[in-house]
């Protein structure tokens, strides 16, 4: 079974570590690529800037996106992904500490594939991240996996 790639866009180092430790429990194996702002996320997806030449770097099976990000805001990143022909089939799940109605609505309006609120409680956080990982990396059949050559970038 090929190892999946997850792109995590999260400015808070500690949150990123929490997500990394919990995601998918012990059931799924994946490579987590963590970037800390919107600009970096787009650079990664377009193989630009610091990510130039990383041709082998696989397309993510799912993107976990925080909303409040330095430089380029989470919603802007989402808009970019969902309007870019080569990226828009990649599932984007918003992971935010905000449960504000406006944030949820704005995200779905920009075609987010899911929206979860970071729980305060440790156990809740752990089970949410476990289920989330299992769902998106194991159960869910995503378009990028259906490509004839798994692991090959759809951007090529």
């Amino acid at each position: 079974m090929a190892t999946s790639t997850v792109l995590l866009v999260e400015d808070d180092e500690n949150h990123a570590e929490l997500i990394r430790r919990h995601l998918g429990g012990h059931r799924v194996r994946f490579d987590l690529i963590h970037v800390t702002d919107g600009e970096e996320a787009i650079d990664y997806l377009l193989r630009k800037g610091n990510f130039q030449g990383l041709d082998a770097s696989p397309a993510p099976q799912v993107i976990l996106l925080d909303l409040r990000l330095p430089r380029i805001d989470g919603l802007e990143v989402l808009r970019f992904i969902k309007t870019e022909e080569t990226l828009r089939l990649i599932p984007v799940v918003i992971i935010s500490s905000s449960a504000a109605e406006k944030d949820v609505r704005d995200s779905y309006r920009l075609n987010a594939n899911g929206y979860v609120v970071k729980p305060l409680d440790f156990k809740e956080f752990r089970s949410l991240m476990k289920e989330l990982g299992i769902y998106w990396l194991d159960w869910n059949q995503s378009a990028s996996l259906a490509s004839p050559k798994p692991g090959q970038s759809p951007l090529q």
């Binding site: 400015d11 808070d12 500690n14 929490l18 500490s97 504000a100 956080f125 752990r126």
Partner: protein
């Protein structure tokens, strides 16, 4: 006049023919000739004492005296025709040619007076007689006959009195009325109640039956002609006009009311005659039977009716003989009007003269003397008689009577009680006074302009409004103080008001106060040139400057509040969201620490505890800075004049450790201007900006604090040689919790705080940074301490 010449010729011819016919009849100077009357005032009637009254009586008595004939006036209510036929009378004083229909043998002299009628209609009736569908008359046969003859197509409405017929015309209940011209003349001078405003058109009517002659049965035809001849001579000697003059104003109310009583029952000639006979009989029997103490019920009724009729006459008529120095006649209304009895009034001088209000006595005497000198005059005065202590207003018209030599022999007068009208007039004047005061004391400005727009009147309150008093404004154009651009903007509306009677326009206009300030006026222009008593353009103005100001203030406050509210909402959202982040970290790693502790994995424990400490430290910093941020708006320190260079040095001193540690160089312009600020806050601003400059420098930071000129306002700046900021983030960096570098230690509150402080001082802050020049420059403005005007150094110095 050809008419009067024809009249004269006809009269002479008739006299001549009568003289020829008169061969058969002779004048018997010993005989007393019975002359009939059917109580037709003002021509002829018997009064309650049985004495004849009326101008025909006066004329024929004078003629009889001249002819040496004695007359006896007899009541013949059956009318001239039957009375002549039956031989009840020898003469009839004044009658139309129609009498020969009933009494073919009657002899008629040439007519000696014309009882002329006229049609009275509302002025707006234009299409001639055809338009008149309903015609009013009084309760007299002659006008009714004229109406049915000349306006046969019209429906006739008989009113119980001439006043009511007149009123019916002016109230538009009927299309017109036929009345005697003498009555019309009287009403024109003294209109019946409620008709003074309505102008009426009078058209004379030509009706041959109104030429009145003396009539007689054949045997006394000579006497009739002799009397007619004497009348002719009286015309020439002007004696006739002297006799007729006092009667000109006479409005035969006595006769009218007597007829009214009877006509109300049945409006036919027969009923009228029968009623007249009954009434006459009743009166006569009452007088006789009273003497004999034999009062019947019928007599009582008749007497009471008569009294009521006589007491209801409102106007008193009196005649004062200047040669005898006494009253020669006074009518029964004297008691009602003056408050004294007829007997009391019979003295040498009208006794009511003593009762005239002292203030009015002089003018009465003066007026009376003018009448005695030959002027027809009228006067209003107050009177208070012992019987009627309540003061009353009297309107009196005095008419001098002039004899053939031109001397005034008599003064005839008609007087009426006009207290009610005068009181209404006084009340109206008091009302006007009240309105005048309201206008003068009111805060609204009322101006009246003529058709050229010049101020004819302006209320004194104008002084409070625009500083010029009403005397200064008088005669100026009404648009004088209005700003020309506002006049221009509303030109078409204003012009159309000036052009169109009745038009109006409500405008909001700015006016210039005498002191130069601009006031806002709410003006109502109204063209009342067509309204009598106004006749101009009326402008009502009200100062609404304060109201408008308050509205603007309110609008601005609402905008401000809304902006503040939105900011607060954003703040609450951001804070709740960003404060949650460290909490998630703390709770998350607590769980790991617990698990690690259970497993005894101290390595993991320590690593996670470090994260925990980190997160809680960050949270503490955020809370502290948020508190600081909220304080900026809450706690206001007094502002003071302070050198900006000094503030910069203070901030530098506070950061000495950090600056030294990063090997930074800080240059401060020593000659920066003084500012008027809260010094502690501005030091805070500089501290934040210097810290940022150090934080975002890659190598050895070089920081400059100085001032530059942006046109007029000095712009302070903090410039560094750091990494710079890309243009797209120039405004975002000042937002709460916005960080460009996720790895930076900052909370994202610093620049929000800086902006907040600058804005609280009324200044602006922005960042300048581009790829060409290295680093960033934070620029801001601040209020300056009041400075002396700059000195101009001219070349000579």
């Amino acid at each position: 006049m050809p008419g009067s010449q024809r009249f004269l010729a006809a009269a002479l011819a008739a006299g001549f023919i009568a003289a020829l016919i008169g061969c058969r009849s002779v004048i018997d100077r010993n005989k007393t000739y019975r002359i009939g009357t059917d109580n037709s005032l003002p021509y002829h009637a018997l009064n309650e004492q049985g004495r004849p009254e009326g101008f025909a009586v006066d004329v024929l008595e004078a003629a009889a005296r001249r002819a040496g004939v004695r007359l006896e006036w007899v009541l013949a209510t059956e009318g001239p025709g039957p009375a002549i036929n039956s031989g009840a009378v020898d003469l009839w004083p004044a009658v139309g040619p129609a009498v020969t229909q009933r009494s073919p043998s009657a002899h008629l002299t040439a007519p000696w007076i014309r009882n002329s009628y006229a049609l009275v209609a509302r002025r707006d009736l234009k299409g001639g007689f055809g338009e008149i569908r309903t015609i009013a008359t009084g309760p007299f046969l002659m006008p009714q006959r004229v109406a049915s003859l000349l306006l046969a197509h019209a429906g006739q409405v008989v009113f119980p009195s001439r006043d009511e017929a007149w009123r019916a015309v002016c109230e538009n209940k009927v299309d017109g009325a036929i009345l005697e011209i003498r009555v019309i003349q009287f009403f024109s001078i003294q209109p019946p109640g409620g008709c003074s405003e309505q102008p009426l058109r009078v058209t004379g009517l030509d009706y041959p039956g109104s030429n009145l002659s003396i009539a007689a049965p054949p045997k006394s035809a000579a006497v009739a002609d002799a009397l007619r001849d004497e009348i002719e001579k009286m015309v020439e000697s002007r004696e006739l006009s002297a006799i007729l003059e006092p009667w000109a104003y006479y409005n035969a109310d006595d006769a009218q009311l007597i007829y009214r009583e009877n006509l109300n029952r049945r409006n036919t000639l027969l009923a009228y005659i029968i009623a007249g006979v009954l009434l006459a009989a009743g009166v006569l029997s009452a007088l006789q039977w009273r003497r004999n103490h034999l009062l019947s019920k019928a007599a009582v009724d008749a007497e009471q009716r008569l009294k009521r009729i006589l007491s209801s006459i409102q106007e008193v008529v009196w005649s004062y003989s200047l040669s005898d120095q006494k009253l020669s006649y006074v009518s029964s209304a004297v008691e009602a009007v003056y408050g004294c009895t007829r007997e009391e009034s019979g003295g040498k001088s009208p006794p009511w003269r003593e009762w005239i209000h002292p203030e009015d006595r002089d003018s009465f005497e003066k007026t009376f003397r003018r009448a005695a000198a030959g002027d027809a005059v009228s006067i209003e005065y107050r009177i208070r008689s012992p019987q009627r202590p309540q003061p009353r207003w009297i309107l009196e018209r005095l008419t001098p009577v002039i004899d053939s030599s031109g001397a005034v022999t008599r003064i005839d007068a008609a007087a009426m009680d006009v207290t009610a009208r005068m009181e209404a007039e006084l009340a109206r004047k008091a009302g006007e006074e009240r309105f005048r005061k309201l206008i003068e004391k009111g805060t609204d400005v009322i101006a009246l302009a003529d058709a050229e727009g010049r101020i004819v009147f302006i209320s004194p309150s104008v002084a409070d409004f625009i500083g010029y008093n009403h005397e200064e404004m008088s005669g100026l154009p009404v648009l004088q103080c209005i700003l020309p651009e506002d006049v221009q903007a509303h030109q078409s509306e204003i012009q159309s008001v000036f052009r169109t009677p009745g038009a109006y326009a409500n405008l909001e206009l700015r006016v210039r106060h005498k002191d130069g300030s601009i006031r806002i006026a709410e003006c109502r222009f109204r063209n009342l040139t067509n309204i009598e008593g106004v006749g101009g353009i009326v402008v009502n103005s009200r100062d609404i400057t304060e109201r408008r100001q308050a509205e603007q203030d309110k609008g601005r406050l609402i905008d401000e509040l809304e902006a503040r509210n939105a900011e607060l909402e954003r703040f609450a959202y951001t804070v709740s969201h960003d404060l949650k982040s460290p909490l998630i970290t703390i709770r998350g790693y607590l769980g790991f620490i617990e698990e690690a502790a259970e497993k005894g994995d101290m390595e993991q424990c320590r690593a996670d505890l470090t994260r925990l400490r980190h997160a809680s430290g960050k949270m503490e910093r955020m809370l502290g800075e948020l508190l600081e941020l909220s304080r900026v708006g809450l706690v206001a320190h007094p502002k003071e004049k302070v050198s900006f260079s000094k503030l910069a040095r203070e901030a530098a001193a506070l950061l000495k450790g950090e600056l030294d540690a990063s090997n930074a160089r800080l240059e401060i312009d020593a000659a920066m201007p003084d500012v008027f600020v809260d010094p502690g806050r501005i030091v805070q601003v500089l501290q934040n900006l210097i810290e940022n400059a150090v934080k975002f420098s890659e190598s050895k930071p070089v920081i400059k604090i100085g001032v530059g000129d942006d046109d007029v306002t000095p712009v302070f700046f903090v410039k560094d040689n750091g990494i710079g900021i890309e243009p797209q983030y120039h405004s975002r960096i000042f937002e709460l919790f916005e960080k460009l570098d996720p790895q930076s230690e900052g909370t994202g509150i610093g620049l929000s705080l800086v902006r907040r402080i600058i804005e609280m001082h009324g200044g602006k802050i922005w960042v300048e940074s581009n790829e060409e020049a290295e680093g960033s420059t934070f620029c801001f403005t601040l209020p300056l301490a009041a400075v002396a005007p700059p000195v101009n150094f001219s070349e000579g110095l």
